[in-house]
Symmetry: C2
Subunit: 430 residues, 2 copies
């Protein structure tokens, strides 16, 4: 039996109890915040990111440093990181499963132009700003090229899953603009992850030869997955699934393949999460395998393991590091550049390919969502040592602001739409 | 990129990759073994336990010590243990969910007598043997009472889940004998876990006052769960579930309650797994909540997290410690006593309450299954320091032997049954 003061001693000698406390704190906090934020029209992910920040050094650490030391001691970070990364492997797999390959086929001219521009412009702007800010913000010892490329990619991320949820919450999935935005987001997601894999290879490699080897191996890996693993899975999906759904043996087999795929990309030198995501993409959609896997893996991952990732990210976000007006200025600048690149790029391309101004604005607003994907990318950057905790914090705030913006702007566009009816289909269900 | 020799360095600096390798090894090995063992009529759990032992110091460590050091380094054991314990919390919860409270109500005279006897006799025999063997087998410093009580409980365990699976594989669930055995196993499970909770309290407490406090708190905990948490959940289950199943928010809420329940029992001084199990028992069965939770949590737990527990148990099983004929003799003795107590107790009570000899033998054979539950209990004993790694290994072998025995014996009884038909209903579907 433990009371009051001995609680700290108890938790530090009972790692399972500590992990349970951490999970309860972050799940509980985010669900409480979600109750308030839902009234403001914000998606759950905002509550989860905020819960992580609340429980980290930015808030809990400022007001209750002893509580932070008790519930999230430094010694527990390695385990928390590991468990949350295992959760992310499964989460990225599910994100891969959620991608509808049908979206990627039969693309309109608009979708292709918008997605290319909404990657290229923020990448170029992000890389430009990074090149300019590197002397101030980059850690000594980090190659300029790594810093510049990474910030470029980090600016180009679109939160496919959050966007999908916002569209479905507001009943916009089947509107022309909703369908266009979700298609572009899917292409953006795949492109951004490929770029990130490429940059991981560059950052981790010791020389040009090593980087080239990694790229060759990555190409071999992708071909093997596409040409060997995909047909194999398709055969299994046909033979082994019936009306009762998929067997536990098939789930076990898929999990082994998933772990091997994650392992392969980690060994090659691109990130384990890329292997998990790509494996999700190649699982055949016919025969109920993809649907069954999502249904049977999603809940525990989303409900238990993902919150641990938010807690882990929150612990690494130190708003206290932004302690000068200049730092806040850089943070605002990065946010502005991110919005300009993504919103501007998507909107401009939409307008130039013949969409109306109104639809172009809507697409731009939707594509500007960063959400959880940005956090995943930023954590990889911090792990690789490409960005400092300070830049990490700035970029987390950027992700938060751009994601918070989306829902109210969409609501405002919808209202305007309702008032000025008759001007053609836009954010209305068709 | 990593090749050959640098693999060890790579794995020791990439904990996520190491965890993936460990999971792939143990899932892969157990599924391969299962293919062979299924032909011999053995359930999956045997393959899983054997896979754990194969990958541990008993086999891999003897023939490929460098592989053992590379794939299961001592530094990874803490994490492996923690992740597998988190998995066990969810597994015990699912076991609790699987218990049909209807089984516990409206018990026949037979069921009550059989379950009481099949706990009491092995407990008494186990405790007796433990008392006799304590000078030889117990570690110095372990109180005699703890050792004796723990081995008593360890002998009384019945594997409710494995038994349920064997019965369902052989189509025996709805035969009179099958129904009787599964009912008794359910009562045995609850009783054994309560005894284990009691003994954890005794072992962990520093004195009689502390033990009494733990028992009082445990009683308070059980009452609070039964009187507060159960009606609350029942209301939620009625209000929040509909034909589309349960919402993710309800799953999140249940997971928080589950973690709190596990945490409460851990803080009180009985084991976290008891809180998880008991919470599973009180989840209302109406309204699809229990069914929905099982469906949405089971796969990831059983497919990914449970194998990590088998690996962890296997690493702690060191058959090499049984290095004298005397040690093997003790191991055989413990196995014999376990069979005598469980099989003898269940069979005797069945016969005395009016079952036929044949049915009594069948009930005895079925109740003798130890399966996974025994491993869970033994790991708790090893963690508490009540039993030594040597006794742990002996008891793991006992669990393996008694579980392996069940399927062939049941098959033999079924065959005999088919030959000598007309002698009344027994192991035939009715």
């Amino acid at each position: 039996m433990v009371r009051g003061a001995p609680m700290q001693a108890f938790l530090s000698s009972h790692p399972l109890a500590l992990l349970c406390v951490q999970a309860v704190l972050v799940i509980g906090t985010s669900r409480l915040l979600a109750v308030v934020l839902r009234r403001l029209g914000q998606p759950l992910v905002i509550a989860e990111v905020l819960a992580g920040i609340t429980l980290g050094p930015s808030l809990l650490g400022v007001f209750f440093p002893s509580a932070l030391a008790m519930f999230f001691p430094a010694s527990s970070l390695a385990t928390l990181g590991l468990v949350s990364q295992l959760g992310l492997v499964f989460f990225m797999f599910i994100i891969g499963l959620e991608l509808e390959p049908a979206l990627l086929r039969g693309l309109g001219k608009s979708a292709l132009a918008i997605s290319n521009t909404s990657i290229a412009l923020p990448f170029a702007l992000g890389a430009g700003v990074a090149w300019w800010l590197a002397p101030t913000l980059s850690e000594p010892g980090v190659p300029l090229l790594s810093f510049v490329l990474f910030l470029g990619v980090a600016m180009s991320v679109t939160a496919f899953p959050v966007l999908a949820r916002i569209l479905s919450e507001r009943g916009l999935v089947h509107t022309p603009v909703g369908a266009l935005a979700i298609t572009c987001a899917a292409i953006d997601d795949v492109t951004a992850w490929c770029l990130l894999a490429l940059i991981s290879a560059v950052v981790r490699s010791t020389g040009l030869g090593s980087a080239a080897l990694t790229v060759v191996l990555a190409a071999l890996y992708c071909s093997a997955m596409w040409l060997v693993a995909r047909p194999l899975l398709a055969r299994l999906a046909r033979e082994r699934t019936d009306r009762r759904g998929i067997s536990q043996r098939l789930v076990a087999f898929t999990v082994v393949l998933l772990l091997l795929s994650a392992l392969a990309t980690e060994i090659i030198g691109i990130h384990a999460l890329f292997g998990a995501f790509f494996f999700g993409v190649i699982v055949p959609r016919e025969g109920g395998l993809a649907h069954g896997l999502r249904e049977r893996l999603e809940d525990l991952v989303v409900v238990l393991l993902l919150p641990l990732f938010f807690a882990y990210s929150g612990l690494r976000t130190q708003i206290g590091l932004l302690d000068t007006p200049a730092a806040w200025g850089f943070c605002a600048l990065l946010t502005g550049v991110a919005v300009l690149g993504k919103f501007g790029g998507a909107m401009g391309a939409a307008r130039l390919t013949g969409q109306s101004w109104r639809d172009s604005i809507s697409v731009g607003v939707l594509m500007n969502t960063r959400g959880l994907m940005e956090l995943v990318v930023l954590n990889i950057g911090l792990d690789l040592g490409v960005i400092s905790p300070k830049v990490f914090t700035m970029m987390v705030l950027m992700a938060l602001v751009t994601t918070v913006m989306t829902s109210p702007l969409v609501a405002w566009l919808q209202r305007r739409d309702t008032q000025g009816r008759g001007e053609g289909p836009s954010l209305h269900s068709s």
